[in-house]
Every structure is written in C-alpha cells, then in structure tokens.
C-alpha cells in the first residue's frame, strides 16, 4: 500500500511540476471560468432569481473541468509518454489516481477564484454549495480522467471527451444544483457522495483496460 501511494505521489508531483513549468492548464481554466461568469452576468436579465444564477455556476464549473480534462493527457499523448508510464512497474491505477489528483488540484485552484467571482457578480455562496462543489469535483476528476485517457487513444479526441463526459456529468449537475438551491441539501450531498464512491471504484478498476492496447 505504501508503495502504491508513493507511486501516486511521484506521478502527481510530476504533473504539478509540469504545470508549474509550462503553465498550460490552470491559466486557461482561470481565464475561462472568469470569462464565463462575466458572460453569464450580462446574459441574465435584471432581477433574475438566485436559482438561475446557481445553475449557471454549475455550467461554468463543468465546462472549466472539461477544459482541464482535455489537457490532462496532452504530455502523455504527444510523445507517447504513456508508454513510459505503462512500462514502469507501478500499478496502472496509480497513474489514474495521480492524474485525477492533479486535475483535482487544478480545478480547486480555478474554483478558488470562481466562487468569490460568483459571489461578486451574483450572490453569496453558502456552505451547502461549497460542500456540493467539493463532492462534485471528486466525481468529475475520477470519471473525467478515465474518459480523458480513453479519448486520447482516439483520433477525434477533442470531440470525443465532451461526448463521453457530459452525459456522465448530468448526475453531478443534478446533485450539485440540488445541493445549492434545495432547502434540505443533505440528500443531494449524499447523492453526490454515492456517485463519487461508485464511479471512483469503477474508474479505478477499469483504467488498466482503458490504457491497454
């Protein structure tokens, strides 16, 4: 177990170091999410309800995550570096977990800017929304990383990832919006936690088959 976690740490640290050097992903995610919130701010008619605004927050989060996921395996794809990782004697699911953690880190950075920006443009953020965003992030990264690895193997990879990811993100949006607007957010948070658990296990178990040619 400690060996597994050590491999995950080595691989995740590598992804963070690559991002610090190249700065390809996080600035793009930040720019996108802030620009999307500005557009939504002007698109919503004067006097629109907070409920509509909360819905748009979730749209911004899902598409920002999609942007990060699209770039998740760029380095591994461009020079077939995935081969180097697959040759290494680490459990292949460690590659998935490390990549999920690094995407999660990038998404959290984007949200640290997006949530205050949302509060500035629309309305304040309550604890249930923050909890919903945190739980949704886990599901988005777990599922999205497997789908990103799957899409990388295909020819129309930029097209494939949204087609695969968005249908699977619908329950996340339902749970997230529910947690943000319902009077009793607990059951929506429970639903998100259940989604995370089920899809994390499926993603963890299936990654090896996804990357095997």
């Amino acid at each position: 177990m400690s060996r597994y976690l050590s491999d995950v740490a080595v691989l995740a640290r590598k992804d963070l170091r690559l991002e610090l050097r190249a700065r390809n992903t996080v600035p793009a995610m930040l720019l996108f999410v802030v620009a999307a919130l500005v557009v939504f701010h002007f698109a919503l008619p004067e006097g629109s309800s907070d409920l509509a605004a909360k819905g748009l927050l979730w749209v911004a989060i899902v598409f920002t995550a999609l942007l990060g996921l699209t770039r998740a395996f760029v380095a591994e794809r461009e020079q077939r570096l995935i081969d180097g990782l697959l040759l290494a004697p680490c459990d292949r699911s460690a590659i998935w977990l490390a990549k999920s953690l690094s995407v999660l880190g990038f998404l959290v950075v984007a949200e640290l800017v997006a949530l205050p920006a949302f509060a500035l443009f629309f309305s304040g953020i309550d604890g249930a929304t923050v909890a919903g965003v945190a739980l949704a992030d886990l599901g988005i990264c777990a599922v999205g990383t497997v789908l990103a690895a799957m899409a990388v193997a295909g020819r129309a990879r930029e097209l494939l990832l949204p087609l695969l990811f968005l249908p699977l993100a619908i329950p996340i949006v339902i749970g997230g919006v529910g947690a943000s607007v319902a009077a009793e957010p607990a059951r929506y948070l429970g639903f998100l936690a259940l989604y995370d658990a089920v899809f994390a296990i499926i993603s963890w178990a299936s990654f090896e088959y996804v990357v095997t040619e």
Binding site: V10, K14, R21, Q79, D83, G84, L85, A88
Partner: protein, 195 residues
C-alpha cells in the same frame, strides 16, 4: 525467456505480425531486421508488454520491472530536465542508490554537463542518449531496443557499441535494426521480417 507460438497482432483488419514462432533463451541476442512497416516495432512492443497479442501466445519470463525498453520516442518529459526525468523513472522503478546510478549513466552517455537542462532544449541525438539512460537505469535483464543507433553521432554510436558489448553477458536482447552488420558479432539469432 521469450517464447511465442502462432503470435499475431492486428490493427483493425490489418495483420502486422502473423503466425510467428519465436524462442529467445536466457542470455540470447535476437536481431530483428526487415523493411519499414514489416512488424519489427510491433513485435518489440508486444514483448515489452505495450501491446496485447490478438492471436497465438506469448510468454515473457522477465517481470515488467526487469525489462528495459528504448523505442522510437525517447519517453522523456520535454519540460523536465534530464536529471528530473531520470529521477522520475528511478523512483518508479525503485532503483537502489538512484542518485549514484543516474549520475553514472549521465556521465557515461556524455550528458552530465547537460543534466540540469530541460529535455526540450536537447538535440535528437541527446534525446536518444537520454532515452538509453532511461532504458538502462534499472539495470534490466531483458533489453528491448528499437533502432537504438538512430540519431546518434559517431561518438554516441561507438559509446553504445561499448555499452552493449559490456551488457551482453548479463542480459537478454531483442534489437530491431536497419544496420544488422553492426550488431551481428553480438547476435545469437536473427529474425528477418518481410523476406
């Protein structure tokens, strides 16, 4: 050490490797030759475990952590330095005395002075040297080399000659090349594709 019976690999309808029988004993040196597209790289990727056969059976006795692979791509991150790349692989392969081993390889392949340079500033020849360092880092028992001399200058090629001769008694080799004469003195067997 490597045993294949009726081995085949197809990509869609295209059969690249077909009905291949192969035996490479422990300590053997199999030279794989043939024109471009004849299936050399596919065979090497099958043996390295990067591809799964679509027909027949393939048994490679060597565990994954004891296989060294050098392919067409150097498999190094361009944004990382030579030292950082080797450190990454050294940690994943649990190389004992990692820093010393990395330093020794970088020195031997003439990359010590460039150890803190990012790989994206390397020439094609330097990348090939770094790729060889990566492939040899964990002192593998089975070396799978696809065109290892490609992009190397004369000095680099001579260096690799010496390295292969030194490793020859301790490892099993599967080497694809367009220059079989260079490696013929080391080889125990030859597999010619597409002839």
């Amino acid at each position: 050490m490597i045993r294949a019976r009726g081995l085949g690999r197809a990509f869609g309808a295209k059969r690249v490797v077909h009905d291949l029988d192969l035996d490479v004993p422990h300590g053997g040196f199999l030279l794989v030759t043939g024109p471009n597209g004849s299936g050399k790289t596919t065979l090497l990727r099958l043996v390295a475990g990067l591809l799964v056969p679509t027909a027949g059976e393939l048994h490679v006795e060597t565990p994954r952590e004891r296989v060294g692979f050098v392919g067409h791509e150097p498999l190094v991150y361009r944004e990382l330095t030579a030292l950082e790349n080797l450190d990454l692989y050294g940690r994943l392969y649990r190389v004992p005395e990692r820093r010393e081993r990395i330093g020794m390889l970088l020195e031997r392949f003439g990359l010590w002075d460039a150890r803190n340079q990012r790989a994206d500033s390397f020439s094609r020849g330097m990348l090939q040297r770094l790729s060889l360092c990566r492939g040899l880092l964990h002192d593998p028992d089975l070396l799978v080399l696809d065109e290892p001399f490609s992009a190397l200058d004369e000095e680099g090629a001579a260096l690799l000659d010496r390295e292969l001769a030194e490793l020859r008694p301790h490892a099993t080799f599967l080497v694809a090349t367009h220059d079989p004469d260079r490696l013929m003195p080391l080889a125990t067997d030859r597999l010619a594709f597409g002839t």
